[in-house]
């Protein structure tokens, strides 16, 4: 894994010291809130509904065990004993006090972490496929590329005041697990005639005006990545609208100017600046690829797992649901579910964090990942060790066998925490999970992505949920719109709104009607909800939601 260079270390320490001084000057009155706000946001510190919130970057979702243990320490020392993992593979603490934040940042720097560029109109944390480096189906580990982008974009002088925030994702498998097409720019590792390179997408995004990213360059030679990205972001920086924040994201820039015009401008800029990149970036990348070399996998006989699974159906269910094929036959990637039924999606207590860190050390080569689906991943576990991992996770409520099932819900913090939210998300997710557990239908339903956002900004990715739920304020009452048919994979699609929204108490029964309609109408058990929706269209589901009478009115 990547370790800080002396430059990184010095840079982060200097930023910590600067922020400590800024907090002191805010508290003694030398800085007004107007002056302080952009400074705190540059360091990931928001003021939310009930308290400050600190958002910490987990670069490309990759964590070492000591870093996870430090989160537990921060949670116990300066917060309320837990942390919240987010759809951007970051972690948020919901209750820090202003005067403690510099100490938290120092504690993060001790384990090579920070909160820089987790807010503001800059290039944010670069996200990747959470099985990166482990997945059997990837063509290469996308993390060296993501780390190269992190180094290039951090404190990039030209890109500190973009028209709006800017999100980049990197993937390396045909099956897109990183929601590439919902990002401002996405980079997919590909090969052409045996040569490594990238497919570049531009102009995706969710939020108020959801759009699927389009291919701006089908094959970019590997060495051209940074000048090409710089050309895209420069083009956007000049062309992007600053007059209206709702039209400031690159998706609108590309939409208003047309992909061809945008591409022509970006390619011209690329041609202009390309020679300025002397190749140092490629030396850096080669070094990063060495640093991301896989651990020396132990050679453990996986037959012990088969024996254990044969006599323990709960273990069998968990192994079937919560493991992913690994590039090494004797290993698997484990999804540690942070979605115990009735609990807050993405939350982990300090005790759970320590258990995950200890398990990573004992069975996972010290590595963990944060997934955008708000779970934790152990990327490399010998199959022979899965029973021991399962047993240890089960003791602390981390062995729910629901990865990819109905209760594996993405939910933003919503109006329980977020100052921008228009309705709550978390209790809706909790209630849906409890209800589906009560019905006992989860296994039968199979693959189901429910995603919930508490406002139009769509942090909960509701547009790409098979069932999407958007919480709004309708005349002073919480109201939930339902969308169907969204898809965050390589077949990306924006979900279609079904009709009028539902009151807070009506959402769970509405979702239940959708699930039961699917079970009634599907052709086979292998036909997923999304497949059935694509085959049948919206009508039977609208009928389930609104009844015959309202179908036409909706």
């Amino acid at each position: 894994m990547y370790k800080y260079s002396d430059f990184d270390e010095a840079f982060v320490r200097e930023r910590c010291a600067q922020f400590r001084g800024q907090v002191e000057r805010r508290i003694d009155g030398s800085l007004t809130e107007e002056e302080f706000r952009p400074l705190r946001l540059m360091n990931g510190l928001y003021l939310q509904l009930h308290a400050y919130m600190l958002r910490i970057a987990v670069p490309y979702g990759t964590l070492r065990s000591d870093q996870m243990r430090q989160f537990a320490h921060i949670a116990d020392t300066w917060d309320k004993g837990y942390g919240h993992f987010t759809t951007r593979q970051n972690i948020q603490f919901n209750w820090p006090k202003l005067k403690d934040v510099p100490d938290i940042l120092d504690a993060l720097a001790d384990v090579q972490m920070h909160a820089i560029q987790t807010s503001g109109n800059t290039i944010r944390n670069t996200t990747v496929d959470h099985f990166a480096g482990a997945a059997a189906d990837e063509i290469a580990d996308p993390r060296p590329t993501a780390e190269l982008i992190r180094q290039w974009s951090t404190d990039h002088p030209e890109f500190q005041f973009l028209p709006r925030k800017f999100k980049i994702a990197v993937g390396a498998a045909k099956h897109d697990r990183a929601v590439l097409r919902a990002h401002d720019v996405a980079v997919e590792l590909v090969e052409e005639d045996g040569q490594p390179g990238y497919r570049i997408f531009v102009g995706g995004g969710l939020g108020r005006t959801p759009m699927i990213g389009q291919v701006v360059r089908d094959f970019l030679p590997k060495a051209d990545l940074l000048p090409y990205l710089e050309a895209i972001v420069s083009t956007y920086n000049l062309l992007g609208r600053r007059d209206n924040k709702y039209k400031a994201r690159i998706k609108i820039t590309v939409f208003e100017n047309g992909l061809d015009t945008f591409r022509d401008l970006a390619e011209a800029e690329f041609a202009r600046i390309r020679d300025g990149f002397s190749g140092v970036d490629q030396d850096v990348l080669a070094d990063l690829e060495r640093q991301f070399a896989l651990p020396a996998f132990k050679n453990a006989d996986p037959s012990a797992l088969s024996a254990a699974v044969a006599v323990d159906p709960t273990l069998a269910a968990w192994v079937a649901r919560n493991t992913n094929p690994h590039k090494v036959e004797t290993h698997a990637s484990v999804t540690i579910s942070l979605k115990e039924h009735g609990k807050t999606p993405g939350d982990a207590s300090s005790e759970q964090m320590r258990v995950m860190a200890d398990l990573a050390d004992a069975y996972g080569y010290g590595e963990l990942r944060v997934s955008h689906e708000q779970n934790i991943i152990m990327p490399h576990v010998a199959k022979a060790d899965l029973p021991a991992v399962f047993t240890a996770l089960a003791k602390v409520g981390l062995a729910t066998a629901n990865a990819g099932l109905t209760s594996d819900i993405i939910a933003c913090p919503g109006m329980d925490y977020c100052a921008l939210a228009t309705a709550r998300s978390i209790p809706v997710a909790e209630k849906i999970a409890l209800r589906v557990q009560e019905l006992g239908l989860e296994q039968e339903i199979g693959l189901m992505k429910i995603k919930i956002s508490g406002c139009i900004n769509a942090c909960g990715h509701h547009h790409v949920g098979h069932i999407g739920i958007l919480g709004l304020d309708r005349a002073g009452v919480e109201n939930y719109q339902i969308t169907l048919g969204g898809d965050g994979t390589e077949n990306a699609a924006i979900g279609q709104r079904t009709g009028p929204g539902f009151a807070y108490d009506e959402v769970v029964p509405a979702v239940e009607r959708l699930l039961k309609t699917y079970l009634e109408k599907r052709e086979t058990a292998e036909e997923t909800f999304l497949d059935a929706y694509r085959r049948l269209g919206a009508d039977p589901f609208k009928e389930a939601l609104y009844g015959d009478a309202k179908k036409n009115a909706a």
């Binding site: 007004t32 809130e33 003021l47 509904l49 009930h50 309320k80 919901n94 209750w95 709550r424 304020d473």
Partner: protein
């Protein structure tokens, strides 16, 4: 014609703690919504806002929130403001967990 003024309380967040605070009739900041001043006159509301804007060395983001008279003092009328008086619904954290009911000055 201007819209009819509806009763308000003046609210903000505390600079150090981040907690939700309200202004009382005698100009103190407290943490309990019911102890806030229910402002029923627009001119007074404007004056209170000006006062608050001058106090930003220890408060953040003051604004006027709709409220109504209740048996124990002002009550919020919108669910967002109601949540702010309590805390989140997924954990017993925030104001709802604050056992010291005294109207601590900030």
């Amino acid at each position: 014609m201007a819209r009819k003024f509806t009763p308000k309380v003046l609210t903000a967040n505390d600079l150090l703690e981040g907690d939700v605070i309200y202004m009382t009739a005698d100009g103190q900041w407290v943490r309990d919504h019911a102890s806030a001043e229910l402002i029923e006159d627009e001119t007074i509301a404007d004056m209170r806002m000006l006062t608050a804007q001058g106090q930003q060395d220890h408060i953040v983001g003051p604004y006027l929130a709709d409220a109504k008279a209740g048996p124990n003092g002002p009550e919020p009328t919108h669910f967002r403001e109601e949540f702010r008086t309590r805390g989140p619904s997924n954990y017993y954290h925030g104001k709802q967990a604050d056992t010291s009911k005294e109207s601590a000055n900030v």
